[in-house]
């Protein structure tokens, strides 16, 4: 073979896109999003699942329709239509893609973030993300072995027109619910983490900023009140003293940038990601498999953009401990991201790309997205999502089951005549 260049002109386009997305992710935290969670596809879909099923899936702390998700889908759709890339297609093992989307989400919730947030976390100085990134490299490596063994989910074909609108339809329904909740009262069945609500004693004592902006009000238990900063029950018992109340931070689902800022940021990310083909696992995959480094510039740009903006806003906190919505279980972080990255490689792209493909009319991407949403609700319901304290007891068995299922899919989908 003749000489080839290893870094093409698209490297700078993807790199600039990553820089923009990372900077926006850092900025969204300054606007109210949870720490190092300006952009997290898994967390945001998890919060959306919490809005609908939080009452039964033990997700009251993370229940909010994240407008960023709606924006990303509609932004990508707009970009795809303008560039004539919108096209209904599907039929490449949608059921398996659903399962792998489910597994991707389940493992991401053990890590506490998707493959996108792993890079975002590093950009906030969270060194526990390095364990996750090591897991991503290993998972991609395993995925490459599987790809080279002839693994193939089969070709997508042209599909009925309506299947191209599945992900967009979901976004429109979410937008309707989000606006309903934003400008009215939330629907009866839904769970919504109140803005900046703090779970002083999770599930028992919950306080939130008072509606008039002056001090705090008690959301739970119903008859308790605030006395000198402490939560006091109707019978006079002190349920949580003032120090405990003051030292409790807002729950992740209650931390959010203003609605239209989130929506606009999402739209911008959607357009940029659709045009640039930014992918949070594709960079490492292509670098190892094809020796092509252009996509890798995307995640490098993301880390740089997030780092700079986090430093500007005083949000940068370098270290392994005290990191927002993260735990420091090294093995757990590695293993969870091995599974997530493997699922992503077997799907053909990270969760953000699945969403964007779905917006472009790809019903297979839509199947993965739906799997992710259902997986989020299931993971919390089944009780193996991690908390900042560490892994849940059931996390390791759950990861084991996921590994077995992925291995079975990999074996089943080896093309005989590769």
């Amino acid at each position: 073979m003749t000489q080839r260049r290893v870094i093409g002109p698209t490297a700078w386009i993807v790199g600039a896109a990553g820089l923009f997305i990372g900077a926006l992710a850092g900025w969204l935290v300054s606007q109210g999003n949870p720490g190092n969670m300006g952009l997290c596809i898994a967390c945001f879909w998890r919060d959306i699942a919490g809005f609908f099923v939080g009452g039964v899936s033990n997700q009251a702390a993370v229940a909010y329709i994240r407008p960023e998700i709606i924006g990303i889908i509609l932004g990508a759709l707009g970009a795809a239509i303008v560039t004539k890339e919108y096209k209904p297609r599907g039929g490449s093992a949608p059921l398996l893609r659903f399962v792998m989307g489910f597994i991707f989400m389940s493992s991401a919730l053990v890590f506490l973030g998707c493959t996108v947030r792993a890079w975002v976390r590093l950009g906030g100085g969270d060194l526990t993300a390095l364990w996750g990134l090591l897991g991503i490299v290993i998972g991609v490596g395993v995925g490459i072995v599987i790809l080279k063994s002839g693994y193939n989910l089969g070709r997508a074909k042209g599909a009925p027109a309506w299947t191209g609108w599945i992900v967009t339809g979901i976004a429109v329904i979410l937008l309707a619910f989000a606006l309903w909740t934003q400008f009215g009262t939330k629907p009866e069945f839904a769970t919504l983490t109140p803005a900046n609500a703090r779970a002083v004693i999770p599930g028992e004592v919950v306080v939130a900023p008072a509606p008039d902006g002056d001090g705090l009000t008690v959301l739970r238990p119903a008859d308790a009140t605030i006395v000198d900063g402490a939560v006091v029950a109707a019978d006079g018992e002190v349920l949580a003293d003032a120090d405990k109340v003051a030292s409790t931070g807002p729950m992740p689902g209650g931390r959010r940038a203003p609605f239209f800022i989130s929506l606009a940021a999402g739209l911008a990310i959607g357009v940029v990601a659709q045009r640039s083909r930014f992918c949070s696992v594709g960079g490492i995959r292509d670098a190892i498999l094809i020796r092509r480094f252009d996509l890798l510039f995307g995640v490098i740009g993301l880390v740089i953009g997030a780092t700079v903006v986090n430093m500007i806003f005083g949000q940068y906190n370098l270290g392994f401990t005290g990191q927002p919505v993260a735990h420091n279980d090294a093995l757990g972080n590695i293993a969870a991201m091995v599974i997530a990255a493997l699922a992503a490689v077997m799907l053909g792209g990270c969760p953000m790309r699945q969403m964007i493909m779905g917006a472009e009319g790809d019903a297979d991407g839509a199947a993965a997205v739906v799997g992710m949403v259902i997986g989020a609700g299931f993971t919390h319901w089944a009780g193996y999502a991690s908390s900042p304290a560490g892994l849940a007891d059931r996390a390791w068995p759950a990861l084991g089951v996921m590994a077995v299922i992925l291995a079975a899919i990999a074996l089943a989908k080896r093309a005989r005549a590769a």
């Binding site: 073979m1 003749t2 000489q3 080839r4 260049r5 290893v6 093409g8 002109p9 698209t10 795809a80 560039t83 004539k84 890339e85 096209k87 297609r89 490449s92 790809l147 193939n152 989910l153 089969g154 070709r155 997508a156 074909k157 042209g158 083909r277 992918c279 594709g282 995959r285 292509d286 498999l289 094809i290 092509r292 252009d294 799907l347 053909g348 792209g349 790309r353 493909m357 472009e360 790809d362 297979d364």
Partner: protein
């Protein structure tokens, strides 16, 4: 001329198939893809190898033609 059918395949299959075809060192290559992402990736890879690339869009697919410069 070497011809590669990557229609309907998700990442990174179009790139893998194209790279494999290039191992035979063809002077001319034609790759069929049907998504914008696959198009951009394959065009990028062919240009990396020094091909002069042209893309023709028909109704259902992109025909990416690479000629050794």
């Amino acid at each position: 001329m070497k011809e590669v059918d990557a229609l309907g395949l998700s990442c990174p299959m179009p790139l893998m198939l194209t790279k494999k075809a290039l191992e035979e060192n063809p002077g001319e290559i034609l790759v069929h893809v049907d998504s914008g992402t696959a198009k951009q990736n394959v065009v990028g890879l062919l240009s990396d190898y020094g091909f002069t690339v042209s893309v023709e869009q028909t109704g259902e697919e992109y025909r990416i033609k690479g000629m050794r410069a």
